[in-house]
C-alpha cells in the first residue's frame, strides 16, 4: 500500500530536520492530510506504527489533521465544501469545478526534545 511509502517519506523529512537541530528525540509529529489527497488517515497511522521502529520517531505522538476538501465552481465562481469527489456545486449544481483545498500531504510541525 502506498501509505507505507508516505510514512517512510515522513520519517525521512522529520529525521533530517531533527538531526539538523541536534534533537535527542522527536516527541510529536503533526500532519495535514487532505480529504481528497488519496491517503487514508487510518492506514497511514498503521503504516507509521510499523515504519517508526528503530527511528528517532519511535514513541512519538502522531497527530493527523484531516483537511476539509473545498472547490471553486467554474460556472458561478463561488467556493463550496466538498463531501466527496463527485459532489456538485452547492450553489448552482455545476459539475465543473477545480479543487482548491483538500489535496494536502504535509508535515506541519514537529516537537523535539533537546539538551539546551
Amino acid at each position: 500500500m502506498h501509505e507505507l511509502s508516505v510514512a517512510q517519506n515522513i520519517i525521512e523529512i522529520v529525521e533530517e530536520h531533527a538531526k539538523k537541530l541536534h534533537a535527542l528525540t522527536v516527541s510529536e509529529v503533526e500532519l495535514d492530510i487532505g480529504m481528497v489527497s488519496g491517503v487514508v488517515p487510518e492506514t497511514l497511522e498503521f503504516a507509521m506504527d510499523v515504519a517508526v521502529k528503530n527511528t528517532m520517531l519511535e514513541g512519538a505522538k502522531i497527530k493527523i489533521h484531516v483537511i476539509q476538501a473545498k472547490a471553486k465552481c467554474c460556472q458561478c465562481n463561488q467556493d463550496f465544501k466538498m463531501d466527496d469527489i463527485y459532489t456538485l456545486c452547492s450553489h448552482c449544481g455545476s459539475l465543473q469545478f477545480e479543487i482548491i483545498q483538500g489535496k494536502e500531504l504535509k508535515v506541519k510541525s514537529i516537537k523535539i526534545e533537546d539538551k539546551s
Partner: protein, 267 residues
C-alpha cells in the same frame, strides 16, 4: 536477512532489467542504515521545542519527477504514464501501437510489475527497447525508479517513452513520474462506475482509453454513463473508445498520440 528492512529476500528488492539480463542480487541501490545511536541518558534537563515545518510529504518524489520531466523536455521525449487495473489491456495496447507505428516513431518502453519479465518479453518481441522494473512487494512505480530505468534504457531524443505502471488503480495516482501525459485505461468488462470508485486516478489523468469495445454486446457496460462518471471527477478528461483486438478506434488513439507528441515537442 536484514532486520531493519528485510532485504535479502528476493521479492523485497526492486530490480531493473533488460530482457536479456539474468537476475542478480545487487544491493548497491538499496540504502539502509544500521545506525543505532545510543544516547547517554544522564539526568540532565531536556527541553521541548515545537518547530513548524509545513513540508510537502511527497516533495522528494515530486522533485525527482520534475528532474525527469526537465530531461524529457530537453531531449524531446514525449512520455506517457499508462495506469489501470490489472488486465485492462495495457500491454496489448502497447504491442499493437508499437507494431503499427514503429516505422514512423521511435518507441522506448519501461514495464512495471511486482514480478516476472513477461511484459518486457512481449514488448521485446516488437523490437522496441524495453526494461522491466520489478517492484517486489511494491505497488507503484516512482520517479526514482524511472530515472534509473531511463539511464539503463539509454532513451534517445525525439522519441516516445511509454511507461506501463504496475496494474493498480489506487497507489500510482500519488506518484508523479515526470510524464508528459497520464493515460488511464479501463476495459468494458470492469463496470461503468469505475471512475467514481477510483476517483484519484481519474482526477490525475489526461486521457481515458475505454478498451475491449468488441465485448460490448456481452456486458452491461454503459459507455455514456462511464464517461459521465469520469467527467464528474475530472471535467478535463479526453476519451477514446477502442478495441485493441479488432483495431476499431485505434486510428483515434494514433491521431491523439501523434498530435500530443507534436504539441509537446514544439517550441
Amino acid at each position: 536477512m536484514c532486520e531493519t528492512c528485510g532485504c535479502g529476500q528476493p521479492d523485497d528488492h526492486v530490480t531493473i532489467r533488460k530482457p536479456s539480463e539474468k537476475h542478480s542480487h545487487d544491493h548497491n541501490d538499496h540504502a539502509h542504515s544500521h545506525d543505532h545511536e545510543h544516547e547517554h541518558h544522564e539526568h540532565t534537563h531536556t527541553h521541548s521545542h515545537e518547530i513548524l515545518l509545513e513540508q510537502n510529504i511527497m516533495q522528494k518524489n515530486n522533485l525527482l519527477a520534475e528532474r525527469n520531466r526537465g530531461y524529457f523536455e530537453a531531449k524531446n521525449i514525449f512520455t506517457l504514464n499508462l495506469v489501470s487495473s490489472p488486465g485492462s489491456g495495457k500491454t496489448s495496447l502497447l504491442e499493437r501501437t508499437i507494431n503499427d507505428l514503429k516505422k514512423e516513431i521511435k518507441f522506448f518502453v519501461i514495464e512495471g510489475d511486482q514480478q516476472t519479465m513477461n511484459d518486457a518479453n512481449r514488448i521485446n518481441a516488437t523490437g522496441a527497447p524495453v526494461v522491466q522494473i520489478n517492484t517486489g512487494n511494491g505497488c507503484h512505480l516512482d520517479a526514482d525508479m524511472i530515472a534509473k530505468a531511463v539511464k539503463k534504457l539509454n532513451v534517445a531524443g525525439k522519441s516516445i517513452l511509454m511507461i506501463e505502471n504496475v496494474g493498480n488503480l489506487v497507489c500510482p495516482s500519488l506518484f508523479d513520474l515526470g510524464e508528459s501525459k497520464r493515460v488511464v485505461v479501463i476495459s468494458v468488462t470492469e463496470g461503468d462506475d469505475k471512475p467514481i470508485k477510483y476517483p484519484n486516478m481519474f482526477m490525475s489523468s489526461h486521457l481515458c482509453i475505454i478498451n475491449k469495445t468488441d465485448l460490448l454486446p456481452y456486458v452491461d457496460f454503459n459507455i455514456a454513463k462511464a464517461k459521465e462518471y469520469a467527467m464528474r471527477v475530472n471535467h478535463h478528461l479526453e476519451f477514446i473508445e477502442l478495441s485493441v483486438k479488432t483495431g476499431e478506434g485505434m486510428d483515434k488513439w494514433y491521431d491523439w498520440l501523434k498530435k500530443s507528441n507534436n504539441n509537446s515537442t514544439k517550441f
